[in-house]
């Protein structure tokens, strides 16, 4: 089963020299990786843009989570090499920066630059380590044994990073001896804080990310629980009722229809059709009531809408009466209702494909019906037409002009 995977930019774990930024970009953009590397190098000489860009990608773009990726080369030889390359690349990068800075005439003196450089390399090693541990976690969760990087190596690398950073900072302070003793204390504190921040930075960053992930997972779990509770309270109960009443088709139909209505309201977050507000809502509420009482299914289609007033309330009442008649006498299970508000004109049609009757033959027992529909509409300044013939269903048409306001 293929799932369309959303293409995201990742840093490559296989094709990498430093952090896999170029490899990832090449894969994402489908361009030769060498071209991208050359571009970065060239950019690096344009005021260091390439370096800044690379650092930004490194920080923002996540590593590819290679959980269960089948097309991965065998661990071992291929995987070791990048690590050695890393060191070389880091040294080259550092050398390049030094040369660049010198070239630009920004040389602040060896006493300042070399300690800073040592600290920077230390920080780079530590930050890269954070990436490794992240990758190790994925590998561990994907049932692969965590053999590729023994804990000892991790410890050594972190220690080396810390030492480098420390040496760099101490060195920097030591060479700035000419400064007053007062500023020295301040500098020492500042250096300690910055150093700590640099060393623990990656972990803070990952921690914040993990927390956000966890929060998202919790929200999802909550939604799921809510959904389960709702399904249990409504749908399962109704299904149980339906099984119990399997012998009574009308009752089953009524239950199913009511449940469907309830579920739709819930799913599509529609305000409960309680009848107040607008014409369309009121007709839908009336239809729901009649459905419940008479176990029919009534489809309401509304085009346009209008706020309820006295006249429209009368229209709703007449429409309801027509729906009741269709449900009671037509002998069919489906009734179609169409409500249209077109400017000042309001029209409602209630139609069934049932047995029908001859309007000319309407006798005393049907009087109530014609009174409650036709009479009501007329009293409120509208009109009603009942069209029917035996065997051809019935349609009630209600017309009303909206009160001009």
């Amino acid at each position: 089963m293929s799932r369309t995977e959303q293409r995201r930019l990742y840093r490559s774990t296989d094709d990498r020299i430093l952090a896999g930024v170029c490899g990832g970009l090449a894969e994402h953009l489908d361009i030769d990786v060498r071209a991208i590397r050359v571009a970065f190098v060239v950019l690096a000489f344009v005021g260091g843009t390439g370096l800044i860009l690379y650092a930004a990608f490194w920080a923002i773009v996540p590593q590819r989570p290679d959980v269960g990726a089948p097309a991965r080369p065998v661990r071992g030889g291929h995987r070791r090499r990048p690590d050695r390359n890393d060191l070389i690349a880091l040294c080259l990068l550092a050398g390049g920066v030094v040369l660049l800075v010198r070239q630009l005439g920004l040389w602040l003196g060896g006493a300042f630059v070399w300690p800073l450089l040592a600290a920077a390399v230390g920080v780079a090693i530590i930050w890269r380590q954070a990436d490794e541990s992240q990758r190790a976690r994925w590998a561990a969760s994907a049932r692969a044994p965590l053999t590729e990087r023994p804990a000892r190596v991790v410890a050594i690398r972190v220690a080396a990073g810390v030492v480098l950073v420390g040496v760099g900072i101490v060195w920097l302070l030591a060479t700035q001896d000419g400064l007053g003793a007062a500023t020295r204390g301040l500098l020492a504190v500042l250096a300690a804080v910055v150093g700590l921040g640099l060393i623990t930075g990656p972990w803070w960053w990952r921690l914040a990310r993990d927390l956000a992930d966890e929060r998202r997972a919790r929200v999802r779990a909550q939604e799921r629980a809510e959904l389960a509770a709702h399904l249990h309270d409504s749908v399962l109960q109704t299904l149980a009722l339906i099984q119990a009443k399997a012998g009574q088709p009308r009752e089953v139909q009524r239950l199913a229809r009511a449940q469907e209505r309830e579920l739709r309201t819930w799913l599509f977050a529609r305000p409960q059709a309680d009848g107040d507000g607008t014409l369309a809502r009121a007709v839908e509420a009336a239809a729901a009531e009649v459905e419940d009482l008479h176990a029919t299914s009534i489809d309401v289609v509304a085009v346009g809408d209008a706020p309820l007033d006295d006249r429209l309330t009368a229209v709703v009442a007449a429409a309801r009466e027509a729906m009741v008649n269709a449900s009671k006498f037509a002998g069919v299970e489906r009734v179609q209702v169409f409500v249209e508000v077109d400017g000042e004109r309001v029209t409602v049609f209630v139609r069934d494909r049932g047995v029908g009757f001859d309007p000319a033959m309407v006798d005393a027992d049907r009087r109530g019906v014609s009174e409650s529909i036709v009479g009501r509409m007329r009293r409120h300044g509208g009109s009603a037409v009942v069209r029917s013939s035996p065997g051809d269903g019935t349609e009630v048409e209600l017309n009303m002009t909206r009160a001009s306001s």
Binding site: R264, V301, V303, G304, Q336, F338, E340
Partner: protein
């Protein structure tokens, strides 16, 4: 079109597929079914049915994905969308993808067979609610009319849609308007074309506003 139309069913609910097969009975020839998009596309292009009955809601893109994938290679295969939902945005997205009709799953067996036959002959099938939606979408003067041929309905088309919304079958509409059934079909097909091609972006906005469910 001679004989029974051949039908392919795409729906991820097993119960529904077997239900439809039973409901349709002998009125059509069911040539296969599928429960997911990729398999559906493959089987449909292989078996070339007249009509594909396709569920709107499925994983991996739903009916829309099937329609788009098949119609690039086999434009002659026609689609009838079926759904439990009447949400306007769903309806509109499959119609605009190329479905020639839209019905809800509560439709009765004979009505469904009738709708399939109509789609097989190249006509359009509108449910009452779809008709109501189209009337709503093309109503009013708020939306800019870029192309009057596409962005507006004629009076006759409006009349036909109103009757569909009132629950009239094509035959009944023809009698009511004193025109032939063929003419009714022509009107409905014209509306379908406008619905598919009109750039009236109101269509989707209305869908959200009206929340037709």
């Amino acid at each position: 079109m001679s004989g029974k139309p051949s039908v392919f069913i795409v729906d991820d609910h097993h119960l529904f597929r077997s239900g439809v097969r039973a409901e349709l009975g002998d009125s059509v020839e069911v040539v296969g079914d599928a429960d997911e998009v990729a398999a559906a596309v493959e089987l449909i292009t292989e078996r070339k049915p007249d009509v594909v009955l396709v569920d709107v809601h499925m994983p991996d893109g739903g009916g829309r994905a099937v329609i788009e994938a098949v119609s690039t290679t086999d434009p002659s295969i026609r689609f009838l969308a079926i759904s439990v939902s009447d949400a306007a945005e769903d309806v509109i997205s499959v119609i605009r993808a190329g479905a020639r009709g839209y019905v809800t799953k509560t439709i009765s067996g004979p009505e469904l067979a009738d709708a399939i036959g109509r789609v097989a002959e190249g006509d359009a099938v509108f449910s009452p609610r779809l008709a109501g939606f189209v009337l709503d979408a093309f109503a009013g003067a708020e939306a800019p009319v870029v192309d009057p041929d596409l962005d507006q309905l004629t009076n006759r088309e409006r009349e036909v849609l109103r009757l569909i919304a009132r629950g009239y079958a094509y035959k009944e509409i023809a009698r009511q308007l004193e025109i032939s059934i063929k003419t009714v079909e022509t009107h409905v097909s014209a509306v379908l074309r406008k619905l598919q091609l009109s750039s009236r972006h109101e269509l989707t906005r209305w869908a959200a506003d009206r929340r037709l469910t």
